[in-house]
Symmetry: C2
Subunit: 349 residues, 2 copies
């Protein structure tokens, strides 16, 4: 990766990782390609940004495919999408000045020309700027909005969340505790489970790799499950659904276990059994994307979560990867659960 | 069936249909048995009732099985449960007098001694008393509460309901029309479909037995589906789910297509695909039993629905079977869709 020149018009280029081909099953390095593209001149109302941090998130797997989803796919040859934190190098808008740190959606690249109206200025002296990609950003807001609006945990109820050491799951469990609920986390491996108990204050942590996972989960929820925050699907959902109480709520924000699926899943057909439980237990299943609640709830989220992070009520874990070139491998690992905490690529120092 | 004597203490008996054995798959006549049982003496606060009408409803299939459901199963040897309309023969409670017509839950039998506090007095001069088992009873309230509380149809939206000529489905479609929505009904055969269009004012009617059912349904909902009132499941749900719009609501009140299932359904496993649509379309699936909403909504329901029935806004169809002895065969036919409208057994003239 050659360092881009420091001009704002003319020869300045962005080094980018683009979608080279659509994955069949799990993505591989061959699905990505690094290239460079010239940056447009900075127009009125815009700013040139050097990206410092790139967020890697499971939803990006969906954007790599043409299958119908809640957002348009990335076109082959286009830069991979993603939230980023960057530093303003040049501004032609009165709201931004050189040196400002901003949140933008610049994707997997080193530089971008952004509209000032579409970025959010951050205060890196208050909290580390990278948190705008995790606990104080989209993942944290996904947890906050989905849990409070759909899950509606009450004091004494039991909340279960999978991928519990990830940025969404860890916030779900800790916000559940704030609301007086019992938080049970599911994670992969003893290290992540210990983190849930020792660092994040979960009431129980279950390793989904354990051969007796379903039995252990049942033991951990003696009063059943009132809220299951669904971000995984697959075998974890299999174990959870029989334990859901009458009137349980299931906010569905992700199904990472199925994102790499290719063939039609083999039988038996589990749909009638799952759907039957929706009926006999008066369950609520509600899919959502956090953007639905942003206008109404984001200011409350920022206020609450900033307070909780500042006073230690909510803790967070970040997992940094150095260098944009390593983003594909880190992303492939994310889909396999190899990250430990919010996965962030340090694109520049 | 011998006519019971007219004494209120001593030798008076009720002729009853009891559960003889639990069905495996579809119920047969052998799962039922007729017997007689002595009636207790009428105590203070009670009344002796002669049953005139017995309601037959799909939920009764669930009560015949030991599989977990939202209510306890009927014990083998016990009288089959069910809502009934009867005439008071003797009362030892000031709220009831001989000749009163009451709604009770006396089950499949000719006579019952009931607590006055657990019956609802009907006015057979205002509307036919049998409607308390259908459009003005549990099925009508299931439609009203599930559609308005969970489905929340807005003017211009599209509401789809299956078993649309039945007592729940027909009320769902007609209430949807009251709310300004487009009503699309699914029913079995041309006679039922014609009834939906000609008598009930549905905007479209689709025969689920047609070989190109899924295509016809898609044509009938050019703007997609905003509310799918689920009382069937199975192949109808298969056709509906791909047509659901973002933020569509699915009140789930019954899954009659699966009630007689025995084996684990063959693959492919449809669950990941259905669950995936919950996610990408931000769907709401909500199981419910009408009792959940009774305290809060039943008075409004009685007021609204009585008005709508009286002024012809909501029409209803009843399908009478004569004689308690014919209840098992009628019930078996109900599960096969052989009834046409609300199925009621005339137990006595």
């Amino acid at each position: 990766m050659s360092a881009p020149s420091n001009q704002t018009t003319g020869g300045l280029e962005s080094t980018r990782i683009v979608l080279a081909s659509r994955p069949v099953g799990a993505p591989t390095a061959a699905n990505f390609r690094t290239d460079t593209a010239p940056l447009p001149a900075v127009a009125d109302g815009q700013a040139l940004v050097r990206i410092k941090y790139l967020s890697l998130d499971p939803y990006m797997r969906g954007r790599m495919s043409e299958a119908e989803s809640y957002a348009e796919p990335v076109a082959v040859g286009d830069v991979m999408v993603g939230a980023t934190v960057g530093e303003v190098l040049e501004s032609r808008d009165p709201s931004l000045t050189e040196g400002d740190v901003v949140l933008s959606y610049s994707g997997w690249q080193t530089h971008d020309v952004v509209s000032a109206s579409q970025v959010r200025k951050l205060d890196p002296d208050a909290v580390p700027a990278s948190t705008a990609l995790g606990v104080l950003g989209m993942p944290g807001f996904t947890a906050y909005s989905g849990l409070l609006r759909i899950g509606q945990p009450r004091a004494g109820e039991t909340v279960v969340v999978a991928a519990a050491s990830g940025p969404v799951g860890s916030a779900v469990g800790q916000i559940a505790k704030v609301k007086g609920a019992r938080a049970v986390g599911i994670a992969g491996g003893p290290k992540k489970c210990a983190h849930l108990l020792d660092d994040l204050g979960f009431d129980a942590a279950i390793d989904h790799r354990a051969p007796d996972f379903a039995d252990r989960l049942a033991e951990a929820v003696p009063d059943g499950i009132d809220v299951y925050f669904e971000n995984v699907g697959g075998a974890v959902a299999d174990a959870v659904f029989p334990l859901l109480n009458t009137y349980a709520r299931v906010p569905v924000c992700g199904l990472i276990a199925t994102y790499n699926a290719t063939d039609k899943p083999e039988g038996p057909d589990r749909w009638p059994a799952f759907y039957g439980r929706v009926l006999i237990k008066s369950l609520t299943l509600r899919g959502f994307i956090q953007t639905e609640f942003a206008r109404e709830m984001f200011p409350d989220f920022l206020r609450d979560m900033t307070t909780w992070v500042a006073d230690g009520t909510v803790r967070y874990q970040e997992d940094f990867t150095d260098g944009l070139a390593n983003a594909p491998e880190a992303f492939i690992g994310l889909l396999e659960g190899r990250n430990f905490g919010k996965l962030v690529v340090r694109v520049a120092e």
